[in-house]
Amino acid sequence: MTENINFILNSALISTLIDPTITLLDFIREDRKLTGTKTGCREGDCGACTVLAGIYSGGTLTYKTVNSCLLPLGNIKGQHIVTIEGLSTEEISPVQKAFIEEGASQCGFCTPGFIVSLTGYLLSGGSSDRDKALDSIGGNICRCTGYSSIKRAADKVVKIFNSESYSGKTDIESLINTGLLPGYFKDIPARLAELQEKPQRVRAETDKFIGGGTDLYVQQPGKLREIRTEFLKGHIPETIDSEGGICRIGGGTTFEAMNSSPLLHSLFPEIEKYFRLIASLPIRNSATIGGNIVNASPIGDTTIIFLALDAWVELNSGTKKRTLPLKELYTGYKTLKIEKGEYLEYIGFYIPTGKYAFNFEKVSKRSHLDIASVNSAAFFEYSEGVITNARISAGGVSPVPLFLSKSSEFLAGKAISYETLSNTLGIMQTEILPISDVRGSGEYKRLLLNQLCKAHFISMFPEIIKEEALL
């Protein structure tokens, strides 16, 4: 491959011929010797390697936090990458100041990651609530401080957000004036505008397509250098459209883009809750829906959600396009009906009309960002106390993400009642075959799926099904 990768790293223009499959983390630390960005786990679970990625699109520049350990260079063309060094000038920033004042560093190894994450929260400009600030550091692990001091520092940062001088202004000039960003950011939009490249056709003659990289770089980081790879980013759709009663989501759409999509919010008002359970913000900023579906994890969170929506996938091989129902995509553990050279271009589903309810539940050991023991989604259409159409899916209870067809069929035409719920549980248990593993025993998973199904009913029909039903 002889293509140059062009991007801006802090204030420097980078134009490199380096292998595009190497991670941004290695490039920053080994090639550029910027060691403020730390290596903690190399799997996107500790946040020590968090950097900012500024994406220039349609004349605007937006910064997101990403895990540099899972981000291939091939995915950052035309972006502005900011490391802790790029945020540190003579004067320390308000975020750094808050950390120092509250004693939020102990050994300090995780600190740059936290600083970058909280700076990302301020740059996002979305909301001034504390919860968002905490969400921004949800993917950062600190083994020393106990987080209390970090939360106090985060509270201070939230105060900055609400202060008059800042008041949520996210234009770069204001951010420079408040000391959050160094002066060189002023020229970044213009510099990035020059770097933008036209999307190219996807090359089908490849061994592996790379989407966001957040699964692939955990599973086989070394292997990717030895095979032919093709980056999908920038070449496949990243849009969320509705037309003719159909919603289509481009395969390159990130989790966070879905999480903040007004269309999806209007259809599924609780969507933020689901995504918060699914992955940390830096992962959501990189992970794509196409990658998640194709990764074929039996417990893939978005797959479970889309199964309940009766979604289909649109596959493209460059020469041929075809459509396949999602529930027919998986043939066994981690195997699926996608042929070599085919990539997932869109996922689509019919936008529900009439009265419907949707719910997603996930139980894992830790309260957030854990791989689920069991997860489940439910979509019910109903009218006057009767379910007219139902679709339930479940993960972690079979080798493939499972559409619970018998339970779904059974529910159609049934009254919303304790009896229906109880009967559904019985049928559900005949459809699953959970195994015992790190995440719990098979028996526990069976029990858990029952609880999740109850939770669906309680959450969707709180007037009829009460919480006591869980007992």
Partner: protein
């Protein structure tokens, strides 16, 4: 020559005056009446800017021209023998400089999956990785054992054919154990008291009016410091060796390297500018340090050997698991008569699974009997881990205490109170903690709350010890420009010792902490403590204050000569020196410093024994924690809402960093209680979760509201009066949570971690 001083000791609202004798060259100890500018206040870290801007250089970040990257080849089977290793193919790869076997002579016996077989040093990490795959070896595999239960069975495969000596580091409590026997996979038991007769004791226990006996289990926890273990070694052509190490004991790394390679201590220099956490696992050079040194010697180039996350989980330490059978015998009124503990635990191929600290040292009792044994299994070695043995011991003891209280119908806190009557620190802690926590609002009948979401309160005690070593040498210099520095070899594990040293010197000289240059983390800087046993602060601070005091005396002498007075006429106000007869005549610190003959004042002071010849100094560090949890009985998920922690740690130095250590201990305790667990595949012996994806550590969202009460307990036993806190704070948390879970749902969870499936299973068992 000694001098006498009157000092105020005890808790702030109950101070007593005593007369102590101290050496002539030491200052009067800080005591309960000292009014200080920095000590005991919340002082920001002196390295805050370095840490928040990414400038702080860790061993992981060291880059030296020509440096090679080294990696280990590890076994993927848990037991067997390697008879031949072929390194030639790996050696021939371009960019590979050296390949060495992990052990000089063959055969190499493999005792756990993940054990090191060979190491490669290459131009890049990637080449090293590729080279590892080119190493081939001939081996046989053998049967293995992965749990205590399997290992103690008759005819179980033996992990060792040889007798194992206990390996202790500065992180372990001193244990003298010459008479320990090893039979099969069991090393032990160690019996306490040594002369106790088990049958006689059991008779005594049987005759107690009320008896409780139960079995408790804890899991294996890995240290999981954010910076992995590792070193960069530069073996000079003059056979002088420079080592950058991520360590909590710079001198122990130096000693290991010098001993192994038969070098002079003076020719090995170990540097730890910043280090990313240790928690007890980072003492000594480790095999990684020895191999890096061998590779550097062989290649003539600096070699970096930092472990990856997987190697970290597998091979450099963990907290042993435990299976503890515990009995308590009391009177009807609830007075403890007898305590008995039979403890088995495994540190994998390592030792150190004892759990008896808490049972021996918290409660009053008439008789005690302890048997504790290490059991070997085919898993990675244990290492000292933040209060070795104590979280395990407390989990069992403090639940058993709770169960006994329940059996007797006595409030669990009251039960603790009446069985620790001789300890006035604890008695005070119970009152302070209960009030802050709102203990009286607790659900009186466990499990009685209606609805699926149940809330409960629990309490648990902790114990640790006031430990310090002697002979640390602190240096303080003042130069002609009035610049001050404090110098010692001690490393900052993260607790903030550098900041504390600056505070102490600033306090003594009337300066501000950021005016003091701190040079630490280098064995060339004078002997300093290892950060183990919570003794860093207790170990080094008296030497530093004493050195600063000596420097101050020299400055006063100099001021006296400038003022033309005798030293007793010179008074010091802040950093100014005045003529006691005429206050208007005064000199600034800089004015006096300018007259320093030559270049600088350089004084050293040594850590001596605490002052002797006085009433006994209290040597336990006591603590109590209260937990408030909710249990979702639908999903089994436990959420910790609040922890109130009351701890004694002598005289607090920096309250900000101290509080942070307590918070950190608590969150590690929560993580231990609910999430962390090393899981070995029972078919292959391979760790299933050697990452941070499935080995779950508590995150920011899992943290409850934590409130700490730090007791200012002055003993004036030396010039600073500091004791330790690193370990104590993590000891009682899991037990307090377990007790709170019982209070919420009315069912006991006697096994860690308390995962949702265990809760649901326990609830189901109860409903049967």
């Amino acid at each position: 020559m000694n001098k006498k001083e009157k000092v105020s000791v005890g808790l702030p609202d109950n101070l007593r005056e005593i007369i102590i004798e101290i050496p002539e060259d030491e200052p009067k100890p800080w005591d309960g009446k000292s009014e200080l500018n920095y000590i005991g206040k919340r002082v920001k870290r002196i390295d805050g800017i370095d840490k928040t801007t990414g400038k702080a250089k860790y061993t992981f970040d060291v880059k030296i021209p020509g440096m090679l990257y080294a990696k280990f080849l590890r076994s993927d089977f848990p037991a067997g023998t390697i008879s031949e290793i072929d390194l030639s193919k790996a050696q021939k790869l371009k960019g590979v400089y050296s390949v060495l076997p992990a052990q000089d002579d063959l055969p190499l016996i493999i005792r756990y999956a993940g054990q090191e077989i060979a190491a490669v040093a290459a131009e890049t990490a990637e080449i090293a990785e590729t080279a590892l795959q080119q190493i081939t070896f001939k081996h046989t595999t053998s049967d293995f054992v992965l749990s205590v239960e399997d290992a103690i069975r008759e005819n179980a495969p033996l992990v060792y054919q040889t007798t194992v000596k206990e390996k202790t580091t500065e992180g372990d409590l001193d244990s003298s154990e010459s008479s320990v026997v090893q039979e099969g996979n069991i090393r032990g038991p160690k019996i306490f008291p040594e002369d106790e007769n088990a049958e006689k004791f059991d008779d005594y226990l049987r005759n107690c009016e009320v008896i409780h006996t139960a079995e408790y289990r804890t899991q294996v926890q890995t240290h999981s410091a954010m910076e992995t273990h590792g070193v960069v070694v530069e073996w000079g052509s003059d056979d002088k060796v420079k080592v950058w190490a991520s360590t909590q004991g710079t001198f122990s790394v130096r000693n290991d390297i010098a001993d192994y390679f038969k070098l002079k201590y003076n020719d090995v220099r170990v540097i730890t500018e910043f280090m990313g956490g240790g928690f007890g696992a980072k003492f000594g050079a480790g095999l990684y340090g020895i191999m890096a040194a061998k590779l550097s010697r062989a290649t003539g180039k600096p070699v970096r050997l930092m472990l990856d996350r997987k190697g970290e989980h597998l091979s450099v330490g963990n907290r042993p698991d435990s299976l503890q059978k515990l009995s308590i015998g009391t009177t009807k009124e609830g007075k403890i008569k007898a305590l008995k503990l039979i403890s088995l635990g495994t540190g994998g191929v390592g030792t150190g699974a004892g759990t008896s600290g808490p049972i021996k040292n918290i409660y009053d009792y008439e008789k005690i009997y302890v048997e504790e044994s290490d059991v070997f299994i085919n898993a990675g070695p244990a290492a000292a881990f933040r209060a070795p043995g104590h979280p395990q011991g407390a989990f069992a003891l403090e639940q058993a205490i709770d169960e006994m209280a329940h059996k007797l119908g006595i409030d669990p806190l009251e039960f603790r109170r009446i069985n620790t009557t001789g300890n006035y620190i604890r008695q005070t802690q119970y009152v302070l903690g209960a009030e802050k926590f709102g203990w009286d609002k607790r659900n009186q009948v466990p499990g009685s709350i209606k609805g699926p979401i149940k809330r409960g309160f629990g309490v648990a005690n902790s114990v640790w010890y006031y430990i310090y070593n002697k002979g640390f040498v602190a240096t303080v210099t003042i130069n002609r420009r009035g610049e001050v520095q404090v110098i010692n070899g001690v490393q900052d594990i993260g607790g903030g010792i550098g900041t504390v040293l600056a505070m102490i010197v600033a306090e003594e000289l009337g300066l501000e902490p950021d005016q003091i240059t701190v040079k630490i983390g280098d064995t060339d800087n004078g002997f300093g403590p290892a950060s183990g046993g919570s003794q860093t602060t207790a170990g080094i601070t008296p030497a530093v204050r004493n050195a600063a005091y000596k420097a101050k005396i020299r400055m006063i002498e100099l001021a006296a000569s400038i003022l033309g007075k005798t030293t007793d006429k010179v008074t010091m106000e802040g950093s100014r020196f005045s003529d006691g007869d005429d206050i208007s005549k005064s000199l600034s610190f800089q004015q006096v410093a300018a007259k320093i003959p030559g270049d600088e004042i350089r004084v050293t002071a040594e850590r001596r024994s605490d002052n002797l010849g006085r009433e006994e100094i209290k040597t336990t560090i006591d603590g109590v924690q209260f937990a408030d949890v909710t249990v979702d009985t639908g999903t089994g998920v436990v959420k910790v809402n609040r922890i109130v922690a009351v701890h004694d740690c002598g005289r607090p130095m920096d309250r900000l960093t101290l509080e942070s250590q307590i918070n950190g201990g608590i969150i590690q305790g929560i993580s231990y209680a609910l999430y962390e667990n090393r899981i070995l595949d029972r078919n292959t012996g391979i760790m299933v979760n050697p990452n941070l994806e499935m080995y779950k550590i508590a995150g920011a969202r899992d943290v409850p509201q934590i409130e700490t009460i730090i007791m200012d307990f002055n003993q004036a036993m030396n010039s600073t009066g500091a004791m330790g806190i690193g370990e104590p704070a993590t000891i009682p948390t899991s037990a307090a949570i377990a007790n709170a879970v019982f209070n919420a749902i009315g069912v006991r969870l006697r096994s860690l971690p308390i995962t949702p499936d265990k809760i649901l299973a326990a609830l189901e068992e109860q409903s049967k």
